[in-house]
């Protein structure tokens, strides 16, 4: 009898709590459902249609079949993979090194370096892209002037106009705009490492390298995995630099999946085909993220 009373009362409480919670969630849910969830489902739905300015007819998995047979898509896919495979490890290792070098410095110095490495992110992709485009310019660019000045090149190189160099230029700029956030995260994570453990290890005569691998590395593991996930997601989505610097050229050597989606969907108005590639890209990124999260779960101590 008493037990029943308690459950009904708690039920009323839960109902009241639920109602007030949803009132607080309502404004946020309106934007989240309206402009994130609905477009996501529309993206999946329309990927099964031949959807253009004039046509909207069901084609089943036709877009996906076309995608895998499309040579430009394959090219774009491998370019994207190259960017991810090069950028993710270099960004992670470099930002870990910078982070562990500056976190012990004086607060002012540390803050200065953190700001400097974050500068390309804040400056904005477009401003960064236009100044690099000028520096890479064949005739008036700084790179050619300096390199021919020291005798490294005989004649001016068209850095962004050459199939062999263009994608490496993109990766270099992507690198400078990608390390800011990981460095901030590493500085914070290393600052939170239990100092008593580090001191105890030093007293026991551990070298710097031993202290790093045995104590610091395990405790910053969650940060490393988060850095890996965000860098992977960002590298897979590389678009703005491509659109601003090379438009996928020369000869599709810098096409990425995201740029090809933009080209098909917004230049040729092939929305269904673009959405199919979008779903594919999302699936690839989801698999990568899930794998990395799985490693976090098995790898982290707590």
């Amino acid at each position: 009898m008493r037990k029943k009373n308690v459950t009904t009362r708690s039920k009323v409480l839960v109902m009241r709590e639920t109602r007030s919670a949803y009132l607080f969630l309502l404004p946020s849910l309106f934007f989240f459902v309206g402009f994130v969830i609905i477009p996501m489902f529309m993206c999946l739905f329309t990927s099964f249609f031949n959807y253009t300015m004039s046509d909207f007819s069901f084609v089943g998995i036709g877009n996906y079949v076309e995608m895998f047979q499309d040579e430009i898509f394959q090219r774009a896919f491998w370019n994207t993979v190259l960017i991810v495979v090069v950028a993710v490890p270099t960004v992670t290792i470099f930002s870990l090194w910078v982070g562990s070098s500056i976190y012990r410095m004086h607060a002012v110095t540390r803050s200065f370096f953190r700001c400097v490495f974050y500068l390309p992110v804040v400056t904005g992709t477009v401003a960064v892209a236009v100044v690099w485009k000028w520096m890479f310019n064949k005739y008036t660019g700084l790179f050619n002037t300096i390199l021919s000045g020291v005798g490294a090149i005989d004649q001016n190189v068209s850095w962004l106009g050459d199939e062999k160099t263009a994608i490496w230029c993109i990766i270099l700029i992507l690198f400078t705009t990608s390390i800011g956030q990981p460095i901030v995260l590493y500085v914070a994570a290393l600052g939170n490492v239990d100092t008593s453990l580090v001191e105890a290890a030093e007293v026991d005569g551990a070298t710097d390298i031993q202290t790093f691998w045995k104590i610091k590395w395990p405790s910053i593991m969650p940060t490393t995995l988060y850095v890996l996930v965000i860098t992977t997601i960002n590298s897979f989505q590389c678009f703005a630099l491509i659109q601003l610097l090379t438009s996928g050229g020369p000869k599709h050597s810098t096409d990425t999946i995201m740029y090809y989606i933009y080209y098909e969907a917004f230049k040729l108005n092939r929305y269904g085909f673009g959405n199919a590639m979008g779903i594919f890209l999302a699936a690839v990124i989801a698999i990568f993220s899930a794998l990395q999260f799985k490693v976090t779960k098995s790898g982290s101590v707590d």
Partner: protein
């Protein structure tokens, strides 16, 4: 042991030298934008680069303001401010509910938010454009603001900060008969204020620089943002680097200034948003 300490010092000196060199390299593009914007055509095209403009000119800026550059700047500021205000308000409310209320569907909702965060947001741009056209918002700056507010990062961040609100405090005011809104305004908001500061500056800067979304949504010259404006200058007069650098400076300098002023909050926002709940 002694040699170990000495070794560390040498290493530290080498690290410091490398860091300073890297710092110069990272600052250089901004320096090149600003100095380039004051160079005349001869200096821009000089075979030997002028490290500092010898004959500084404001001609590039005069030509820049012949175009609706002030309007572009205003649009960028408006979009960033509106997104910031709406994100902070909705995220503070939702973060509090997620952190402090036990309600039906909480687990499911949380899972949805996590999954949405892990997905690439650029992928939904195609259907988003269609949706905005359907709502009559094509080529309207609200088409950039609304999706920005919908992105769940802010809710996450505010949930992290709301976890720090002592539950006893909420219960105490409830027993005193305070209503939900009163509790939110007098107890919750003052405690999560640092979180709102972090989210505000974070949203402002990321929205300002969200080029792809702006590119898709905005077309006509009067509706462009400063980022789109610079891209337009580059597309239309690709070798007029003086003019393009003036545009880049107009876009970059305000946002760098804002970042430097509020960088403490900004760093906090990045760090807190990363800690998975």
């Amino acid at each position: 042991m002694k040699s170990g300490v000495k070794h560390t010092t040498t290493y530290d000196v080498i690290v410091m030298i490398i860091m300073v060199i890297l710092a110069v390299l990272f600052i250089f593009p901004v320096y090149w934008i600003v100095t380039g914007s004051f160079k005349d055509a001869a200096a821009i095209n000089a075979a030997i680069p002028e490290w500092f403009p010898k004959n500084p000119t404001t001609d590039n800026y005069v030509r820049l303001f012949d175009k609706p550059a002030m309007q572009w700047l205003f649009n960028s500021v408006f979009i960033a401010l509106m997104s910031m205000a709406l994100t902070c308000l909705t995220a503070a409310m939702a973060g509090y509910a997620l952190a402090k209320k036990r309600f039906v569907g909480r687990g499911l909702l949380f899972t949805f938010l996590v999954c949405a965060m892990a997905l690439p947001k650029q992928v939904v741009l195609v259907p988003l454009l269609k949706e905005m056209s359907f709502l009559g918002l094509h080529d309207n700056i609200w088409a950039v603001i609304l999706p920005t507010v919908g992105w769940p990062f802010g809710v996450f961040l505010m949930k992290q900060f709301s976890e720090t609100i002592p539950t006893e405090m909420l219960e105490a005011v409830r027993i005193d008969g305070a209503g939900e809104i009163q509790t939110f305004l007098t107890i919750v908001l003052p405690i999560v204020k640092p979180g709102i500061g972090a989210l505000a500056i974070f949203t402002f800067i990321t929205t300002w620089n969200d080029y792809f979304l702006q590119l898709i949504m905005l077309n006509s010259s009067k509706n462009l943002t400063i980022s789109l404006g610079i891209a337009k200058l580059q597309a239309e007069m690709s070798n007029d680097f003086g003019l393009i650098m003036a545009g880049a400076a107009l876009g970059a300098i305000p946002i760098i200034a804002i970042f430097l002023m509020f960088q403490k909050y900004f760093t906090q926002g990045i760090t807190m948003g990363a800690v998975k709940g």
